[in-house]
C-alpha cells in the first residue's frame, strides 16, 4: 500500500519546480567543471525552504516532519542530476536524532537546520557493505579523553562539512563519534575519483584525533542509518531513471536513420517500454518504502520495503543508463551525450549500501 497526502504532493510539485529552475540539466557539466564542492547561493535557498530541517524536531529548529517526507525532494534532485550536501547532511542529522544525546542534539541540530553541513563517515577501504566491519578505533587516554585513528573512504562533501559522525570501535564495540572539521588539517582530506563526476567524495585520514567523551554518541545503531540512507538514495535513483527515460524518448522522437525516426523501430521501442515499466516499478517501490517508514510499520516490513526499493532501483536505473548509451548510437559513445551522466550516476548509486544481488540475498531471508 502506498499513502501519499496532499501535503506531500505539494512538496513534490515545489521540489520539481525548484530543481528544474535552479539546476537545469544543461548546467550539469558546468557544475562538474567548476569543481567547487557546492554553490553557496543555491544552498542558502534550500536552507530558506526549510529542507535542511525536514526531519529535525521543531524544538531544534527544524520542521518536525518525517524523514520519509524528504523522499519527493531527493527524487526531484535526482531527476536533474543535482548533487548538493543535502543528502549527507540529512543523514548525519538522522544519526544524531536516533543515537545522539540531548546535549549533542541541541548543539548540532539547530546549526544543521540553519545550514551547517555534516557528513557520516562509515565506509572503509575494503568496500564492505557491512557497516559493522570497522577498523577505525577510538582509544581511551589516561586523561579520560579518546583518540580516533582510522581511514574513512567515500566520505561525501568532506571539504565543506563542519562536522563528521565517524564510526569506530571502542574496546571492540561499535560507536559513533563527532569530529569537528576544526580538528582536522587539510592534508587529511583527499578528493577521490568516483564514476559519478557530480559527486564530491573524499578519503579522510583520522590520525590520533582527540575526541572528548561528550562527543561519543550514547547509541550506535547502524540499521536505521542504513535504512534511511537507502531510502533517500533510492528516491534519487527513481528521479534519475525518470530523467534518463526522458532523454531517451526525446532522442527516439527526433533522431532519424534510414529516413525514419528511430523510435519507430521496435528494436528500440520495446526496450524503451521496458525502461518505462522499470521506472514505474521503481517509483512505486520508493513511495511504498516511504509509506512504511512514515507509518512506522514493523522493523521487518520497513526493511523489506526499503530493500525492495534499493534492489529495483539498482537494477533498473543501471540498465536504463546502459541502454540509454546504446540507443544513442555513435553519439552515445561520446562525452557530450547526456546518457553517460545518467549511467555514471546509476553506477555510483547502485554500489551504495548494496547492489541488487546483495539486496536480493537479504530479501530472501525476509521473504521466506
Amino acid at each position: 500500500m502506498i499513502v501519499f497526502s496532499e501535503e506531500q504532493a505539494m512538496l513534490l510539485d515545489t521540489a520539481n519546480e525548484f530543481c528544474q529552475n535552479q539546476a537545469p540539466r544543461s548546467a550539469v557539466r558546468d557544475v562538474i567543471n567548476a569543481g567547487t564542492a557546492m554553490d553557496p547561493a543555491l544552498w542558502q535557498t534550500m536552507v530558506d525552504l526549510g529542507w535542511l530541517g525536514i526531519s529535525i524536531p521543531e524544538s531544534y529548529g527544524g520542521l518536525g516532519m518525517n524523514l520519509a517526507d524528504a523522499v519527493p525532494i531527493f527524487e526531484a534532485m535526482g531527476r536533474q542530476l543535482m548533487d548538493t550536501p543535502l543528502l549527507a547532511t540529512t543523514l548525519a542529522a538522522q544519526v544524531l536524532i536516533q543515537d545522539g544525546s540531548d546535549n549533542q542534539k541541541s548543539t548540532w541540530l539547530p546549526k544543521i537546520s540553519a545550514g551547517t553541513i555534516a557528513a557520516v563517515a562509515y565506509q572503509e577501504n575494503d568496500g564492505n557493505w557491512d557497516l559493522g566491519a570497522i577498523d577505525a578505533v577510538l582509544t581511551p587516554t589516561d586523561s579520560g579523553e579518546f583518540t580516533l585513528s582510522g581511514t574513512k573512504m567515500l566520505v561525501p562533501d568532506a571539504e565543506v562539512a563542519e562536522v563528521f559522525i565517524v564510526s569506530a570501535r571502542l574496546q571492540g564495540k561499535p560507536v559513533w563519534c563527532l569530529v569537528s572539521s576544526e580538528s582536522l588539517e587539510s592534508s587529511q582530506f583527499e578528493r577521490e575519483t568516483v564514476i559519478d563526476e557530480t559527486r564530491h567524495s573524499y578519503c579522510v585520514q583520522f590520525s590520533d584525533v582527540a575526541v572528548s567523551p561528550d562527543d561519543v554518541l550514547p547509541l550506535c545503531q547502524f540499521h536505521p542509518f542504513e535504512m534511511a540512507s537507502m531510502m533517500l538514495i533510492a528516491a534519487e535513483m527513481s528521479g534519475g531513471l525518470a530523467g534518463v527515460l526522458e532523454v531517451v524518448v526525446d532522442y527516439l522522437n527526433t533522431r532519424k536513420q534510414f529516413d525514419k525516426l528511430i523510435g519507430s523501430y521496435q528494436a528500440l521501442k520495446h526496450p524503451t517500454v521496458d525502461m518505462l515499466l522499470g521506472s514505474e516499478l521503481v517509483r512505486s517501490t520508493v513511495y511504498h518504502a516511504a509509506t512504511a517508514w512514515r507509518e512506522n510499520e514493523s522493523a521487518s516490513a520497513v526493511e523489506t520495503a526499503i530493500r525492495m526499493a534499493k534492489c529495483c532501483a539498482s537494477e533498473q536505473f543501471s540498465e536504463a543508463g546502459d541502454r540509454g548509451i546504446q540507443f544513442h548510437g555513435g553519439f552515445g559513445f561520446t562525452y557530450d551525450c547526456d546518457a553517460q551522466l545518467f549511467l555514471r550516476r546509476a553506477l555510483w548509486s547502485q554500489y551504495q549500501l548494496g547492489d541488487e544481488r546483495y539486496q536480493r540475498q537479504k530479501l530472501g531471508g525476509l521473504f521466506f
Partner: protein, 398 residues
C-alpha cells in the same frame, strides 16, 4: 448492510463453502472456463454451479422476477471473495453470468429476460461468444461472418474462432455483418443472441498446445436464426459489442458473480518451492533457485505496488496511463515466468506431463503451456509494447 450484518453473512458463506466444497474429483480440473475440454470436467463444473445457484450464491443482485436474489451487490462481492479464499472450483457459465446476462438485463426485452436469465444462473443453458474470426484476430470491427435477412430469419455463413465452451453451449452472443454498405466497417454489424441448436452451426473443437480441447472453431453453413434473436437494432452491433466488452472487462458492474478461473499466485510458487525437491533438498534451499524465486516475488509485489501507485494522481503525472495500460502485459508475462519456473523446481520430474507420476498431476506443466493464452490472447505482449510505446511514450508508429 451494517458491519455486523456483513460479518454475519460472511461467516455464513464461509461455513457453507467449507461444508460444500467439492472433494478432489481425482482428475485434473481445467484452469479457466476457456479450458473445459472433457465431458467429465464439464459435468463436474456444471454440477458445482447448480449447487452454488441453489444455495442462493449466484446472481444475488439480479432481479428476483427472473431468478436472481434481489439482494445488494455487496453480498455477491462477499461471496466472490470467500470463494477465492476457499479455493473452490470456478463456475463454468462465465460468458452467460458475466457478459451475456448483464447485457440482457440491461437492454433485452421482457421476453428475453424471462427466457434466458434463470437458465444462465442454473447452468441449464451454457453460453458462448462468437466475436473473433480466423482472419481478424483482434480486429472485431472487421468481422466478416454474414447474416442475410430472409423473411423472419437471418441466414448466417462464415466462421468464428476461439469459441470457449462451443461444444456445450446452447446460445451464442454473435456479432455478424448484416450489411456491406454503410459509411464505415462498423455500420454493417448486428448483434444476436443466437441459438446453437439450429442446423448449419457446427462447433469443431480445436486441439491446443496442451494436448487438450477447450476452444472451437464454429462454422456457419446457411444456418437460419430467428430474426427476433437480434439484440438492439440492425446495424447497432458494434455499440452492443462494446457494451459487452465493458461487462467482460469488469468496467461496469452487474455481473452474476462466481469465480471464472483457478487462482494461481506467487504464494503458490513459494509453497511449491518448499515442497518440491531438487537433488534431495527442498528447492527453496538451493541458493540459485532461491534467488530466482526472490526475483519473482519482487515482480509480483512490484505489480501490486504499481496498482497502488496508479490510484494516486500526484504520482502519475508524466505518464498517467502507463500502469493501467501495461497491466495485462505485466500480469500475463509474470504468470508465464512463474509457471515456467515451477517446472524447474521439480528436478528430473520437471520433464513429466499430465499423469499420476507428475507433481500435482502435472498441473504446473499444463499451467505453463496454458500461460501463453494470456500472453497471446487480447493482443500479444509484442503488440502491447507497441501500444505502450506509441500511446504512452508518444513514439512514432512502427
Amino acid at each position: 448492510m451494517n458491519p455486523a450484518e456483513i460479518d454475519e453473512f460472511r461467516v455464513q458463506v464461509r461455513a457453507w463453502l467449507s461444508d460444500n466444497k467439492p472433494a478432489d474429483p481425482g482428475f485434473l480440473l481445467p484452469e479457466t472456463f476457456m479450458e473445459v475440454g472433457t465431458d467429465q470436467q464439464f459435468e463436474f463444473l456444471r454440477d458445482w454451479q447448480r449447487k452454488v445457484f441453489e444455495a442462493g450464491y449466484l446472481g444475488m443482485s439480479w432481479p428476483e422476477a427472473y431468478g436472481g436474489g434481489g439482494q445488494p451487490q455487496l453480498m455477491q462481492e462477499i461471496v466472490n471473495q470467500e470463494m477465492a479464499v476457499a479455493r473452490v472450483p470456478f463456475v463454468p457459465n462465465t460468458i452467460g453470468l458475466n457478459w451475456a446476462g448483464p447485457l440482457i438485463l440491461d437492454m433485452g426485452s421482457e421476453a428475453d429476460k424471462n427466457r434466458y436469465i434463470k437458465n444462465i444462473l442454473s447452468a441449464e443453458d451454457i453460453w458462448c461468444q462468437g466475436f473473433s474470426e480466423p482472419d481478424h484476430g483482434s480486429d472485431l470491427g472487421n468481422a466478416q461472418v454474414r447474416a442475410v435477412k430472409d423473411g423472419d430469419e437471418y441466414v448466417v455463413n462464415g466462421s468464428k474462432i476461439w469459441t470457449s465452451l462451443g461444444s456445450y453451449a446452447k446460445y451464442m452472443i454473435l456479432i455478424a455483418r448484416t450489411s456491406t454498405e454503410g459509411s464505415n466497417k462498423y455500420a454493417g454489424l448486428s448483434f444476436f443472441l443466437a441459438p446453437m441448436t439450429v442446423s448449419g452451426i457446427d462447433p469443431t473443437p480445436i486441439k491446443k498446445l496442451t494436448g487438450e480441447y477447450g476452444f472451437c472453431q464454429t462454422y456457419f453453413d446457411d444456418a437460419r436464426i430467428p430474426a427476433d434473436c437480434m439484440l438492439g437494432q440492425e446495424g447497432e452491433g458494434w455499440s452492443v459489442a462494446m457494451k459487452t466488452l465493458m461487462f467482460e472487462r469488469g468496467a461496469v458492474g452487474g455481473q452474476a458473480g462466481g469465480l471464472s478461473m483457478m487462482d494461481l499466485n506467487i504464494n503458490d510458487i513459494i509453497e511449491l518451492a518448499r515442497r518440491a525437491t531438487r537433488n534431495g533438498q527442498p528447492a527453496i534451499d538451493d541458493p540459485l533457485t532461491r534467488d530466482e524465486l526472490t526475483k519473482l516475488v519482487l515482480e509480483a509485489r512490484g505489480n501490486g505496488l504499481m496498482g497502488s501507485k496508479a490510484k494516486i494522481p500526484a504520482l502519475n503525472q508524466t505518464y498517467p496511463t502507463a500502469v493501467a495500460m501495461s497491466s495485462k502485459l505485466r500480469g500475463s508475462e509474470l504468470k508465464r515466468k512463474m509457471t515456467r519456473f515451477a517446472l524447474s523446481l521439480q528436478g528430473a520430474n520437471g520433464a513429466r506431463y499430465i499423469s499420476e507420476q507428475a507433481m500435482d498431476g502435472g498441473k504446473w506443466q499444463r499451467s505453463y503451456l496454458n500461460a501463453f493464452s494470456a500472453t497471446i490472447g487480447g493482443g500479444t505482449s509484442q503488440i502491447q509494447k507497441n501500444i505502450l510505446g506509441e500511446r504512452v511514450l508518444g513514439l512514432p508508429k512502427s
